[in-house]
Symmetry: C2
Subunit: 341 residues, 2 copies
Amino acid sequence: MRLKDLSAALGLSQTTVSRALNGYPDVSEATRRRVIEAARRFDYRPDARARSLALGAARAIGHVIPLSTRHEMVNPVFADFIAGAGETYARLGYDMVLTVVRDDDEARVYRELASTRRVDGVIVHAPRVADPRVRLLCDLKMPFVVHGRVSAADETYSWLDVNNRRAFFRATDFLLDLGHRRIALVNGLEIMDFAIRRRAGYEAALADRGIAPDPRIMSSEEMTEGAGYRAARSMLALPDPPTAFLVSSLIPALGVRRAVEERGLAMGRDVSIVCHDDELGYFTTPDSVPVFTATRSSVREAGRLAAEMLLDLVADPSGPPRHRLLEAELVLGQSTGPLRS
Amino acid sequence: MRLKDLSAALGLSQTTVSRALNGYPDVSEATRRRVIEAARRFDYRPDARARSLALGAARAIGHVIPLSTRHEMVNPVFADFIAGAGETYARLGYDMVLTVVRDDDEARVYRELASTRRVDGVIVHAPRVADPRVRLLCDLKMPFVVHGRVSAADETYSWLDVNNRRAFFRATDFLLDLGHRRIALVNGLEIMDFAIRRRAGYEAALADRGIAPDPRIMSSEEMTEGAGYRAARSMLALPDPPTAFLVSSLIPALGVRRAVEERGLAMGRDVSIVCHDDELGYFTTPDSVPVFTATRSSVREAGRLAAEMLLDLVADPSGPPRHRLLEAELVLGQSTGPLRS
DNA sequence: CCGGTTGCCCAAAGCGCTTTGGATGACCGT
DNA sequence: ACGGTCATCCAAAGCGCTTTGGGCAACCGG
């Protein structure tokens, strides 16, 4: 059932039916009701491609999710972020077009998205410190919102980020208050912008207490269980091992924990662990004390908000860039305790 | 730069340029080269909407990922499945349109996808034992491939599945061989088709040794860390607690482990755990003995293959339904050992 | 020399929608 | 009775592509 058929069935022109459905004033209320009723009865919905061709807007947003070429893995936070963004799109009648791409030919994908006019805007995931995508998208005049920030960018652009620096500052401070002085940082890859900011927060908190950062207890790796395990294991084997760990995510924190226990130490007693927690649904236990003390911030909510910002920007591309900084909360769990001497 | 501009710049008609780019024979080799060269120079790519409108095919595939209304969470396996499918789409020039939807109005989404003609086919995720979507999609004449199966379906349909029954049969058998007799099943929700098949495998293996299944050590819950923990904790508190656990996924297995250790028992020595492992990138440690003994099967690969099957089906919708059954391998880890008496 | 092929190219129709720019009556006051 | 307003409807153009159905030379053999 296409517009032509529907209008024929109603004995009206396509123009009138279209205007009736799209809420134009110059169609009588009686006809409008008749049209809407018939549309529902025949389950008519306009062809999205034809509609967007006529309208000029695709009513779709692109998400390019990077595939780490190192481990060929896709970061589990994307699922939750996308679920959040998807809620916003569903509410406002937008589609989400996903492209999974190895990070070595992102540029091609963005250019393609722009020139094929498949989407009205894109969300930039996993930005690096110096990410060429900001420049590229500005050049392409494609509206975009970065999930995170790009510290080394020359252009102004829209972003939504968690205050990673403050979160890791507070977490470090918390461990220092518990008496810990050998605090390890098991960070994400430090080409990633968020990882740099977290390290800055960590180092600033140490500096405030006159502690010099020790590179031997600072690692920067992919955020996998295995990487967390290996980093912690080698640090624990040092002559002066850390008594606390600050970890980039729940997943590597599981690895850190494994290394700690393998050494016969008890988490929360002999060794403290704080990690960043993106509130992934399958890990949080709503009704009990969490296992890990964590800086917590909902990725799902971030997805919702980022999508809203982007749709806003699409509606008014000439307006000013939008920014939003979310704060993480420090949630106490069972993985931290005072330094035991 | 649209087709009109490009053809004007070349002094050719749109027809000729289009045919040159699409490899039609009736254009001279000289002109074709000239056109292709110009297209590259101007970075011309046809408008996808106009193209698909003219061609009739959207060159896009829909993925509707369900959001559990109970925990509002999205299953982490989707990320990997989609990464796999995305590889196939990228290779063959298809787009992926994602819709995240709470399971109470899936039907609307599928109807919409069909009548707006946004996609040429869909992948059905997380099928239930009696899933109305099979019937719906057949009625809508929308090509689809189910990731999993729908045991109670009347229609024939295309699917790709893991041999869940055999996987859990073998895992149970393995635990029996180790001497275990009290083997618990921490299953996924048994409205899900895969969960039913896994239970069938588990019960069949027990029956082969003359063991009656005990409902007190069989649970069926959402696959979260917390659900695994709670199930295991209450089972371990029984007068005759299980000495081994068969768990639906790595995530709840982490919860089971937590419950085991909380009780002062050692995993792999006092209590054995076998779980199903979907080979999610961030958990597998390629270069060492895995923590958990598991029935392993790559979701990523499943995504790749399912997408291939679907594109095949889209190319020839009148052909027979496609089926594919993948076998899981049993991988030995550190979480299992012989029964200690 | 001439009808028939062949190679190359193009104008125009069509995909299904929205929007522009009227057209047609009904109704108004004078 | 009549010009003017208003409400309601519609034909046709346009979005940017592909495809149909020729057109026009150049070349062929008879």
